[in-house]
Symmetry: C2
């Protein structure tokens, strides 16, 4: 019976047992482990020896509970991992968080606000140190949860002049507008756009809106916009181009949701012997790694994805430690004129 109990409880060594083994009180052991001071060197050595010998692993759940504090978890929601853009942002976030002893709790919201709401509720119930959410749109209940939870929060990606708490991103509308204006300046008159599901009021939609506005302002025509029900990857860029060109062969230039889709388009054009930029112009967005190996410089919008993540994490960490943090950070963008238009 006793054996069974021991084997089933396995590693249930807690602070009391360490203290007992070291011949001190629980409190003294606690002080030693937290290096709080108020104990002799002799005691410290005794306690640490028992910690080592028994393989004591602190129960951080209990610590959080005792102090009525929060954990060191930071909830990070991103739409999905299939979109390369967000994996770079996530990497920037996690690198920074880890170096400050925090852990990323992942939330893939699949671009659905309802999923996000559920996830927020779950994560908040675990008392996170902070939250980073991709996008500025949330359900009313989510907003209420976030406000009353009173947890440091950064909304990233799409710039938001009045964030719930803090915000790090760029103005997607402007980036689309600038691209539109640039293409107009190149003499194009018939414009196309290819992206993926834009049901939600997301950043890609803002880019499309900016693009459309620029074209309208400049007297051009957005002949065709295609929103595929797919991920914004290489192959959707490939077949999206095929679809767009077959339904509207007069389009002179296409703006894609991101570089990967644009590269898909480049490969489609190569396969069909359509000259770039002679027969058609191609523009991407986000400057993704693939662009570096193309035979010509892709026309795109350069965005420092990693920087967004880092800055979001930095501001969050500041607020977590009670310091002042910038409420709104604009990381900006840069138009890369390239050779594909």
């Amino acid at each position: 019976m006793t054996d069974l109990k021991i084997s089933s409880k396995n590693n249930k060594i807690n602070l009391s047992e360490v203290a007992k083994a070291a011949g001190v009180s629980k409190m003294t052991a606690s002080r030693v482990l937290r290096e709080e001071g108020g104990y002799s060197e002799k005691t410290r050595v005794k306690v640490m020896a028992e910690v080592e010998r028994l393989g004591y692993l602190p129960n951080r759940i209990a610590t959080v509970f005792a102090g009525d504090k929060n954990t060191t978890f930071v909830g990070v929601s991103i739409p999905d991992l299939g979109n390369e853009v967000f994996t770079h942002v996530l990497e920037g976030i996690d690198r920074k968080l880890v170096s400050f002893n925090h852990q990323t709790v992942l939330g893939m919201t699949q671009h659905a606000l309802a999923e996000e709401e559920t996830w927020i509720e779950t994560v908040l119930s675990w008392k996170p140190a902070g939250l980073i959410l991709t996008g500025r749109a949330h359900t009313p209940k989510a907003v209420q949860l976030l406000q009353s939870a009173n947890v440091p929060l950064v909304e990233i990606w799409d710039l938001n002049s009045s964030p719930i708490d803090m915000c790090v991103g760029l103005n997607h509308f402007d980036s689309g507008y600038d691209m539109g204006r640039f293409l107009l300046s190149k003499g194009y008159t018939r414009f196309g756009y290819v992206g993926t599901s834009h049901d939600a009021a997301n950043a890609a939609t803002s880019r499309l809106n900016g693009y459309a506005k620029a074209i309208e302002d400049g007297g051009g025509k957005l002949s065709k916009q295609l929103c595929l029900n797919d991920i914004p990857g290489f192959y959707p860029g490939f077949y999206g181009t095929e679809q767009l060109l077959s339904s509207d062969p007069d389009v002179e230039v296409i703006f894609f949701q991101n570089d990967n889709m644009a590269v898909g388009a480049v490969h489609f054009c190569q396969a069909q012997h359509i000259s770039i930029p002679g027969d058609i112009g191609i523009a991407g967005w986000g400057e993704l790694p693939i662009a570096s190996v193309l035979p010509y410089r892709l026309t795109t919008v350069q965005v420092n994805h990693l920087r967004i993540g880092q800055l979001a994490a930095e501001n969050l960490l500041l607020k977590i430690s009670g310091d002042q943090a910038t409420p709104v950070s604009d990381v900006g963008f840069r138009l890369v004129t390239g050779e594909t238009v």
Copy 2:
């Protein structure tokens, strides 16, 4: 003073307050919330009304603590997010976990066992429901921590006949061996390899070893192997090819660490007007999305990354709920002969 307290404590509504407001005991409120039964419909309605009115959010930390249970977190360690291969695995894991009310706690170990050990210790102190680790190599202390923690564990990626607990992956050595044999059968005699940092005993090294063994067994020559100190992406594939060919122009075929590197090579060859497969053969690994838009089918090894993640999560969840789970799952691979050799 009182106001200050209220505003600072904000949403500190706990079960006691809900119970008091509903005119029942804490225990009854607890039973209602857990739908445990043992209460009248009238009571249920009263309690739920107060939960709603007060915006009560359960403190899951306290629940875990009370029951001396584990959280619903699952620690997932991957080398890095910059490697597209692992993001697919991670996506498979998280999708499955989420649908069973678990959350992914991310750990980027940067291919360093010491980082992994630190991360394991931290995550274990948070009482996770389970762990998924990429790779089979761990520090002795990490292994000891994992064993004594007695938490469900899946080691993924590299197949391991004697895992600490469970294992999901494929035989990387064999996949390299098969590729080597296939290339030999195509008549090549002088072989090259380009990958990234192989200091650790990782899966890519196993592939290289399998490849080298096949070449040796077949009487060919592994003329040159290049291990760049970079990420296994497009551009390293591009300049790695340049480096390899300039130092050893006689190489007839190159096996790359993954498809992205191979695509970088394809673009290098296109830029230099080197014919594929006429002048040189190119082989990748992993069948990544970019391969779908190339003008010809890339010779590669197809691996179902998403499936690895799903299967790992499935087995973990089985074990978490106390059921039997497969100790070792081989997801296999498939050689894609392609047109680039």
